[in-house]
Assembly symmetry: C2
Homo-oligomer: 137 residues x 2
Amino acid sequence: MTAFTLDQRLAADCHELTVVEDTHILLMNNRLIPWLILVPHTPEIELHRLNADTFAALMTLQHQCARFIESQFSIDKINIGAIGNIVSQLHVHIIGRRKTDPYWPGVVWGNPTREPYTPEQVTQLQTALQDHLQRPL
Amino acid sequence: MTAFTLDQRLAADCHELTVVEDTHILLMNNRLIPWLILVPHTPEIELHRLNADTFAALMTLQHQCARFIESQFSIDKINIGAIGNIVSQLHVHIIGRRKTDPYWPGVVWGNPTREPYTPEQVTQLQTALQDHLQRPL
């Protein structure tokens, strides 16, 4: 595995919660929406070109993150997206949506309304996520 | 497997190209954007709650559809999305994006600009997709 550098726009928009399975797990710094981003350490930019093992590990993490969001927040729907039109570094969005959130029923991308987390909220979510990832699926 | 009925909004917006692996493959009726939609025949609405076999089959189809779009159109990026805020029936978008398309670099969802395919274009894509799905991965 070559050295990995997180895209600077992802780094600016998000908190780095943890790294597992050669994958960064980021928290979008917007407490209006529970929103995690997986960034596998790969130069590939398309999901369908990942090798089978890397893709399977990424999907396992995607499911774990969706369950984590469900466990921590009262949500109505999970949204999954791999877009990459602006930030080409491969990343997968896992987003908890509520019918009362400010973007519903639209998608979250392209919407500038944001409220940052407090440092305490980030630490609480980081600890809870790390605990969640230790549990069997 | 219980009887499957395609959501009426998906049916109104799309052409039904084929059914494989208990999954409808739809073509969004908008020739500005190469846009396929997979609709597995399941009452489940969240990807992370599908059983492992159903999820794996869906991801294989997702990859095949992404490759099909790349083979038929000159594109710059594939966008993948499972949203379901408006149509809850589980469906996965596989979209070929061009830097010159009318929505770039934004996402396609929520954008009303559309141009329908001709019947001949739909038939050509349907035949090409069915041929593509017969080939080994």
